[in-house]
């Protein structure tokens, strides 16, 4: 049991941030009854990321952090679940999941054995916009780890028995996800925002789509998208660019891109087909997951920094507005948060909380009320400074571990953003004005296009929800078709 669920991976930094606390410091006089004032802030040092393009088109990116003899490394293919054909949701994730389940020279158990012996674990999978294979090892094991990464990326066997095994595991994972209100609400939210677009389906597939996937579909996807000119190898930790390039050349240097052009990705944002309010009935579950979500921005948008600051003010931390109103003031949830999801072509913005079933409608109203408040007036200076400090602090803490650093740099690399963005992050956060926050909220949390989704035991909230939101529709979990933009099976 912890006080509140953590949204961010880890820890703190300072710089720029001391100002936020001056109001409280004024309370302090001297002696032990008074809160002492903060000392002068020390500057945070931000690692520099560098890159090099190999002749075959593979981009190598390095962010150096020498404090510990560890390196986290990941190979990203810059295509993710958005390339799933419409009837084959989960194909890209299944393909990535199969990479370490056997290559032309090693069986799945041999690969697992090799990774564990290096002290790491291979992580494979696909989300939207990227597929990845990653591992963290100590520096003496790095060369062998890169060999392994290259083998599984380039030479997967896709043996029929491994495909069946992986498919069954994904179906079982899905069963578990579909028994939890939170994951059900997230699946439905994607359909609500992206409609029939390529971002609308679950990346892990659906109970109906996974059984349809054939070995040929997997092989074809791998042949088409796993190519050096669509890939980025990112290192974070105790390594420099020269050594990283050397390792990349050795294991990936003779990887050749096919002569054919890389297909352009399908359109992520589609046409929406859902009513503004949706209830999903999961009888017997102990809470309702309430989500309110709206179309947002792409990662490359000029509004990115106003967006993350707006997210920080709305619900990026324990002290932010959603938590303040829903948890601290009213005791309605263990955690209420906002989420700004920025993808290559589009994105979403919204908030969510789990609450007892009977409070679901009240929580939905509170979410929408906070959206309205942020859209109608700019945050005051103290609040804005405090939430920028939280955001900047979390950024600094993320750079203290190789995995956190990898995540920050990989996000820039995968989306083709300049790597020196890392060095400008803190300044760009500070530069966001209160009015930019309000304008962002007005554009991306407005009533038009807002969807409210409640997944839970509908017997306890369904009628009240229908009354509060007349344009609502109820689905049972058994009849929910996530392959369909209407959530209903296509007419036969």
């Amino acid at each position: 049991m912890i006080r509140h669920p953590n949204r961010f991976t880890m820890v703190a930094l300072s710089a720029l941030l001391a100002a936020a606390n001056s109001a409280h410091a004024a309370d302090a006089a001297s002696g032990t009854d008074a809160l002492p004032a903060p000392g002068p802030a020390r500057k945070v040092s931000i690692p520099v990321a560098q890159d090099k393009l190999l002749p075959n088109g593979l981009r190598v990116v390095v962010a150096r952090r020498t404090a510990t003899p560890l390196v986290s490394v990941a190979l990203y293919v810059r295509s993710g679940a958005e390339i799933d054909p419409p009837s084959l949701a989960g194909l890209t994730d299944l393909t990535a999941g199969l990479l370490d389940q056997g290559t032309t020279t090693r069986s799945a158990p041999q690969i697992a054995e090799a990774a564990d012996a290096l002290g790491g674990s291979l992580g494979t999978g696909a989300g939207f916009d990227a597929s990845q294979v990653s591992i963290s090892v100590t520096t003496p094991k790095l060369a062998a780890a890169i060999d392994l990464l290259a083998d599984v990326t380039r030479n997967p066997a896709f043996a029929p028995e491994e495909i069946e095994r992986e498919r069954k595991q994904m179906l079982d994972d899905l069963r578990v996800a579909l028994s939890q209100p939170g994951s059900i609400a997230r699946f439905v939210a994607a359909r609500a925002v992206y409609g029939d677009g390529a971002y609308g389906h679950p990346a892990g597939g659906t109970p109906a789509s996974l059984p349809r996937i054939q070995r040929d579909d997997i092989v074809k996807l791998h042949d088409t998208f796993y190519r050096p000119d669509n890939a980025t190898l990112v290192f974070a930790g105790d390594i420099d660019l020269e050594r990283a390039v050397q390792l990349a050349e050795r294991s990936f240097g003779d990887w050749k891109a096919p002569a054919t052009a890389l297909p352009s990705p399908p359109v992520g944002q589609g046409v929406r087909a859902l009513p503004p309010t949706i209830a999903i009935d999961l009888p017997g579950t102990g809470q309702a997951a309430v989500t309110a979500v709206h179309a947002g921005i792409a990662r490359s948008s000029a509004e990115f920094y106003p967006g993350i600051v707006a997210d920080a003010v709305l619900g990026g931390s324990y002290s932010a507005r959603l938590s303040e109103e829903i948890r601290i003031k009213r005791g309605l949830s263990y955690g209420a948060r906002s989420a700004l999801d920025t993808r290559r072509q589009a994105g979403s913005f919204g908030g969510s909380a789990q609450t007892k079933n009977s409070s679901a409608v009240e929580v939905a109203g509170l979410l929408l009320g906070e959206f309205e408040r942020l859209s109608s007036a700019p945050p005051d200076a103290d609040e804005l400074a405090a939430r920028k400090a939280t955001l900047s602090g979390n950024f600094g803490f993320s750079l203290e571990t190789t995995r956190g650093l990898l995540g920050q740099v990989a996000n820039l690399a995968v989306y083709g953003l300049p790597l020196d963005e890392l060095a400008h992050y803190l300044d760009k956060v500070q530069a966001v004005t209160a009015d930019q926050v309000r304008t962002f909220a007005l554009a991306h949390l407005g009533h038009d296009g807002m969807s409210v989704i409640v997944a839970g035991d509908a017997q306890q909230f369904g009628d009240a929800l229908g009354k509060a939101y007349p344009k609502s529709e109820r689905f049972t979990i058994a009849a929910l078709d996530l392959d369909s933009p209407t959530l209903k099976p296509a007419a036969k």
Binding site: M1, A12, V176
Partner: protein, 459 residues
């Protein structure tokens, strides 16, 4: 190729390069200094200037096992209330001192301890020390805060136990396993017993357990040692050590004299599950390291024995885990499996037992032993990257083993474990001991929502 290098306190990871040459890497021990104030407060300092941040943690030697009778969940509810008002701080002012300046805070309640932890830009250290001393001495929760925070804890219970497919099972494991020890009560409590708690209980609990002589202050990161000592003396030294003795749990779980079996159910169980539990030794036992290695051989990584047998080869489990929990008193050794669809708890139970027997009786290859040692040390190195990670390692060592230096010596002990040690502890605590078996299935009369896979698959 098996080598162990222990240079002074340094730990060796033996790395075998492709060519066969060995590279060695050392994990430097956590360098800490400790002292005890006259009022009994233990203070541990870990200087590390890698980042301009500092972690501040206060670990109280009170946990869920100390929940008052009829008040299960109370120690945890109390933890939440430590963020409310004190004599000189407003409710939630800890968040102003941390989140608002680029830091973070949290707290957790374990069976044996309750820890409060923050990390902040290092120029805020003095303020945090002041504030931690303040809430150790002068908590002043009001009725409104108490009620609303209790409602939050009830939502936490719903989220963890009632709205999570395996929450009821995890809650049932200690309840079904322990016969005597208060570990048997769920740390999260029950709605009824949380509702029975009063503001008077809060005041009494703070007075009884929140005191300098049963607390450990850990500061790790970017600080000046002389300044730290000065501030600790200024804010913590004046706090009074109560004259009364602190109540301690003295119950000892007896060796189990027979196997026991339980069935638990939930309204939304997507796949059945099974837990096998045995009674382990206290964390300070010399057998702790061998049990950690045994657990890693069985379930750390995709190449581990249980994963290979149940998930990969037999395909009867969706996931499987084996863990010997480190607790101050006798902890549980548990094996846990979620079944793959179409399979039943008894299949996983038999397969787990077969693998455990094999581990106890058939030779363990030196390379396999070396593999899990490398893996555990790499995981430790990863945890020790941050000052906060070091503070957690030291805190657990103090609270569970009674000795801060165990944070370093435990890593050495792992390296020293032999195949014979592993087989001896598996025989002693698992094979030759009685166990509790818990099946977890869908409640009768309410079938879990059937996934539509069946229809889709027909195609």
């Amino acid at each position: 190729m098996l080598r162990r290098i222990l240079a002074g306190l340094c730990l060796g990871i033996v790395a075998c390069a492709a060519a066969g040459a060995a590279d060695t890497l050392t994990i430097p021990p956590i360098a800490f200094k400790q002292r005890t104030l006259a009022n009994g407060l233990q203070v541990i300092a870990i200087e590390d200037h890698t980042s301009p941040t500092v972690a501040v943690q206060v670990w109280y030697h009170v946990g869920s096992k100390d929940d008052p009778a009829g008040r299960s969940g109370f120690a945890h509810l109390f933890e939440h209330l430590m963020f409310k008002a004190t004599k000189h701080l407003k409710a939630e002012q800890f968040d102003r001192l941390t989140e608002d300046v680029g830091g973070h805070n949290n707290a957790s309640t374990n069976d044996d301890f309750t820890n409060y932890y923050e990390a902040v830009p290092s120029n805020h250290l003095q303020r945090l020390l002041w504030a931690e001393a303040e809430r150790m001495a002068y908590l002043t929760v009001d009725a409104a805060s108490f009620k609303s925070e209790r409602a939050v804890v009830e939502e936490e219970l719903r989220q963890r136990v009632l709205a999570s497919p395996y929450g009821r099972l995890f809650n049932a494991v200690p309840k079904d396993s322990y016969q005597v020890h208060p570990y048997k009560r769920p740390g999260i409590g029950s709605i009824e017993e949380l509702e029975a708690a009063s503001l008077d209980d809060v005041i009494a609990f703070h007075k009884t357990y929140y005191r300098p002589d049963y607390a450990t202050l850990i500061v790790a990161g970017d600080f000046d040692p002389a300044e730290l000592d000065k501030w600790v003396d200024a804010y913590f030294a004046p706090l009074q050590k109560p004259a009364s003795a602190i109540p301690r749990v003295t119950a000892v779980e007896p060796k189990w004299s027979e196997d026991r079996r339980y069935s638990e159910h939930g309204p939304n169980v997507p796949l059945p599950a099974v837990v096998l539990a045995w009674l382990g030794p206290p964390a300070r036992s010399a057998d702790d390291a061998a049990l950690s290695i045994a657990s890693a051989l069985l379930s750390n990584g995709d190449s581990s024995r249980l994963h290979q047998a149940l998930v990969y080869r037999q395909q009867i489990a969706q996931r499987v885990n084996f863990d010997a929990s480190a607790q101050a008193d006798n902890g549980l050794i548990t094996a846990f499996a979620i079944l793959a669809s179409g399979h039943q708890p008894a299949e996983a139970e038999q397969a787990i037992l077969a693998e455990v027997r094999k581990l106890a009786t058939e030779p363990i290859a030196p390379a396999e032993l070396e593999k899990v040692k490398t893996k555990l040390l790499t995981q430790a190195l990863s945890q020790l990257q941050t000052a906060e990670g070091k503070a957690f390692a030291v805190g657990e060592a103090v609270l569970l083993k009674g000795d801060a230096s165990a944070a370093n010596s435990d890593l050495e002990a792992l390296q020293a474990v032999s195949a014979e040690d592993v087989q001896r502890v598996v025989k002693q605590y698992v094979i030759d001991a009685h166990r509790v078996t818990i099946d977890y299935t869908q409640q009768a009369g309410k079938p879990a929502a059937p996934p539509k896979a069946a229809k889709g698959a027909a195609k």
